[in-house]
Symmetry: C2
Subunit: 107 residues, 2 copies
């Protein structure tokens, strides 16, 4: 395979990655909706740890664990924000409640 | 579906995401190997732009474009580093050549 072939393969992989990232975002939204107006604890550190454990365990490489973790930290940042928007849909600007949620939302 | 169901779905999505990220890393390595010892230009800004265009065009949501771009910026950072390691495999410490490559490697 030459470089053009590998790039076509990357474009194909990217299409699948984008589809999965959107599916993940939808799941984060659904969890946010289920949490809305409940008394459920929002902050669940064990869940975030379980996500990272799952990701590391299933990885067969060649992506080094450190790099995979870096990518997942960004994915989790985004998903946390998406879920927060479902839990606090009225939050259009920064409020005290909003700030408090920042570090407390898991997916 | 309750929260536990959605989390099982997320774990399943994550397994597929990890597999695809590893496939993408392998493709970046292969391109790095093909570029090694050639006179091919390493810096190809059009390619990076094409990757982002592809990703945005195929996205059906609900992930906002801004968030998708943020995730992809991290993916591209990691892939650029992985490719550089293949092009300059002997680079174990920071050298002038190494520094020069930093902003010049595309996948």
């Amino acid at each position: 395979m030459d470089i053009a072939d590998w790039r076509r393969k990357i474009d194909e992989i990217d299409r699948k990655l984008v589809e999965l990232l959107n599916q993940r975002a939808q799941a984060a939204q659904e969890i946010g909706r289920l949490k809305r107006n409940t008394k459920m604890p929002i902050y669940e550190p064990d869940r975030e740890r379980a996500v990272f454990d799952n990701v590391r365990q299933v990885s067969q490489g060649p992506l080094p664990e450190r790099d995979l973790t870096q990518i997942y930290e960004r994915i989790m940042d985004v998903m946390r924000k998406i879920q927060k928007e479902e839990i606090v849909p009225q939050a259009k600007s920064r409020t005290a409640a909003d700030t408090e949620l920042d570090s407390d939302v898991n997916d």
